[in-house]
């Protein structure tokens, strides 16, 4: 029987200890959202803020992104950056982003305190919103066996997990964080495997069919850059998209630039994407971004036996070379 894993009191106690430390400036966790069954990121700087922390199966955000997606404006004269540690709560999938960021030397292991959350699956907010369009909330979500129970506005309803669980969780191979300082609950054993069934259709399509398929999806893109900004691996100092001089990609929104955008991004993530699926979750235009990322992921795994974000000692895929590397696709 799979149950709610995280004891909130224990979480708060640990968080209090961590944020009380002299060498810690910030703890990034989750707190209740503002409506429906939303949970949202919490930025705790004081012990007094610890009370709002919580972990439920509605905690979908990959908080690892906040370790790289922050701004570095020039500092006022005479001040220096606060270089104390940041503590972050991560699920199994999210922990892989931390590993990959560290493999890429985005920061050092010592710079972060990792509070690991063994996880047996989170909900898909889109599916939940559809199921409970009238839930004002903010409500609660709990895991009870093979169900999720949703309580809001004085009502409670139980829904089979399979109906509202995030797709990525149905093929999760790393339910327990791969890197952590403290684990907030006992390890969860692997309960699923990834057979790439979801992209089998994509792989079978011919070029024309693929083009027609993606043309329809990309034509919807409004280039809000939600996918890029939420991505824990998109953290270049200056993104190729934003550069105005020289301008590599036009700001015009049309099928040609949109396609260039999505293909560039997919390529830049090849061998780096850790499959958290945040890009697709946040896309307001329902573009199946992860289909591209998953195809690259599968190819990288098959061609090079490489899985990003699984080994702290590994080097980035594109910086290693073996004479045995597959190359028959090179023209």
């Amino acid at each position: 029987m799979v149950e709610q894993l995280i004891d909130t009191d224990k979480l708060k106690k640990i968080a209090e200890e961590v944020i009380s430390r002299e060498d810690v400036r910030l703890l990034i966790g989750y707190r209740k959202g503002t409506f429906g069954f939303r949970m949202r990121p919490a930025f705790v700087e004081e012990v007094s803020e610890v009370g709002e922390l919580e972990f439920t199966p509605a905690c979908v955000n990959n908080l690892a992104t906040y370790l790289t997606n922050y701004e570095r404006p020039p500092l006022p004269r005479g001040t220096t950056n606060d270089t104390r540690k940041v503590a972050v709560m991560v699920k199994g999938c999210d922990s892989r982003a931390l590993l990959q960021q560290m493999v890429e030397l985005a920061y050092k292991r010592d710079d972060v305190i990792i509070l690991g959350i063994p996880c047996n699956g989170v909900i898909d907010p889109a599916k939940v919103d559809k199921r409970f369009p009238e839930a004002k909330g903010p409500g609660d979500v709990k895991r009870e066996g093979d169900n999720f129970t949703f309580s809001a506005d004085g009502k409670t309803e139980t829904v089979p997990a399979a109906e509202v669980i995030a797709d990525k969780c149905t093929r999760c191979r790393y339910p327990t964080p791969l890197v952590y300082d403290e684990l907030l609950a006992p390890e969860v054993e692997r309960f699923a495997d990834d057979t790439y069934e979801d992209i089998a259709g994509l792989e079978k399509r011919g070029s024309d069919e693929k083009w027609a398929y993606w043309e329809e999806k990309f034509s919807r893109c409004v280039r809000c850059y939600g996918c890029r900004n939420v991505c824990p691996m998109c953290y270049c100092d200056e993104c190729v998209l934003d550069r105005l001089s020289p301008q590599w990609m036009r700001r015009s929104v049309d099928i040609s630039e949109n396609t260039a955008y999505h293909i560039s991004r997919a390529y830049h993530l090849a061998g780096r994407c850790i499959q958290c699926g945040e890009c697709q979750r946040v896309c307001p235009m329902d573009i199946p971004i992860m289909e591209m990322n998953r195809k690259f992921y599968k190819d990288v795994a098959e061609f090079y036996e490489y899985e990003p974000g699984t080994d702290a000692e590994e080097k980035p895929l594109l910086s290693i070379f073996s004479v045995d590397d597959k190359e028959d696709f090179i023209l």
């Binding site: 955000n61 036009r250 929104v253 235009m285």
Partner: protein
């Protein structure tokens, strides 16, 4: 003009009649609802909540050409912004109201020929929100109403097997004229039914915010710690602004292809770092804290101080679609309480 009735069975015929105009209606692809030009009435998806992208895009396209030029030719070729007589069928009252609000800016002193031309040639046929599209809708707090007609030319009310058709402008009368063969006079009971739906719809709105005094109060909260708190999770993407029916900021860029090119404008977002970045490298809004503050202040203080209206119609898209649940009502509540 007296209220009319359009029987739903004749909706297809009505949309067919309107095909002499450039006709746009909500359409669905995957989970996304967008206003698109329809050739076949069956493409119209009117059983919808609200569109993902507001129909502002029809009068204010995400990318449009201002003029074209050619190497070696000194004369610039001005782009005719006209798209022909257009009818948007079935948009929500909040999105129509947004156009009426934004139009004030595009008319401010310098007339923007591109926006105004399309606004002028577009007729808005609204579909009243008999049931409230989202738990986060708050139009009544910012001067709108689920059955509001500001900005609209015609308002439709879904009465089950028929629509009550209310013409509210001369442009609307033209559309009603085109449909005259399909419309019958409304009975008193139809009008009563619509009035009842309107009252109930208003009650169906669960979220509210008191906006009185916000315009001045916001200016006095410049350095308040709330801005850091509410923007801490912001990712700096453009979801809230691009999908906002009143956001109207744009960039202008030149694009060259071999020896010809165009000057084009495209939506921009105040949440992007480059938006205010000076050539010198200085940025007057260096972090998301300043950008979030500007977004809220612009909507609830600056715009009303210039044009009288709050530049927010309460459609709730920014709340529903924010990747990190930054909620404009939550922010405004903190402003009220600060």
């Amino acid at each position: 003009m007296a209220e009319k009735i359009l029987i739903k069975e004749r909706l297809g015929d009505a949309l067919g009649e309107l095909s002499k105009f450039r006709l746009l209606a909500p359409t669905k692809s995957d989970e996304v609802v967008l206003f698109k030009q329809i050739d076949d009435p069956a493409e119209a998806y009117l059983d919808y909540l609200n569109s993902t992208v507001p129909p502002k895009r029809v009068v204010f396209p995400q990318t449009e050409t201002l003029f074209k030029f050619r190497a070696g030719e000194p004369d610039l070729e001005e782009k005719d912004p006209s798209e022909g007589e257009t009818v948007i069928w079935g948009l929500r009252p909040c999105d129509a109201r947004a156009m009426a609000i934004v139009e004030k800016l595009f008319n401010w002193d310098y007339e923007d020929p591109y926006y105004l031309k399309r606004r002028e040639e577009t007729t808005l046929v609204g579909l009243a929100c008999s049931s409230i599209p989202s738990v986060n809708c708050f139009c009544t707090s910012v001067g709108g109403h689920p059955f509001g007609t500001e900005g609209l030319d015609v308002l439709l009310t879904d009465l089950g097997d028929k629509y009550l058709v209310e013409v509210v402008s001369d442009k609307g009368a033209k559309v009603a004229e085109a449909l005259s063969g399909l419309l019958a006079d409304a009975a008193g009971a139809d009008k009563e039914a619509a009035a009842k739906l309107s009252t109930e719809a208003e009650k169906g709105i669960s979220r509210t915010i008191g906006t009185e005094g916000l315009q001045e109060k916001l200016l006095n909260l410049w350095e308040n710690p709330l801005w850091k708190k509410v923007s801490a999770a912001c990712l700096g993407c453009g979801v809230c602004t691009y999908l906002c029916p009143t956001c109207h900021c744009f960039d202008i860029q030149d694009e060259v292809e071999e020896d010809e090119g165009r000057r084009a404008r495209m939506w921009d977002s105040c949440m992007f770092c480059e938006y205010t970045l000076h050539g010198s490298g200085h940025n007057p809004r260096p972090t998301r804290r300043e950008r979030t503050r500007n977004r809220i202040n612009h909507k609830y203080s600056y715009f009303p101080s210039k044009f009288g209206d709050i530049a927010c119609v309460g459609c709730a898209r920014c709340i529903n679609l924010c990747p990190v649940n930054i909620d404009i009502l939550d922010i405004l509540q903190q402003v009220v309480e600060a």
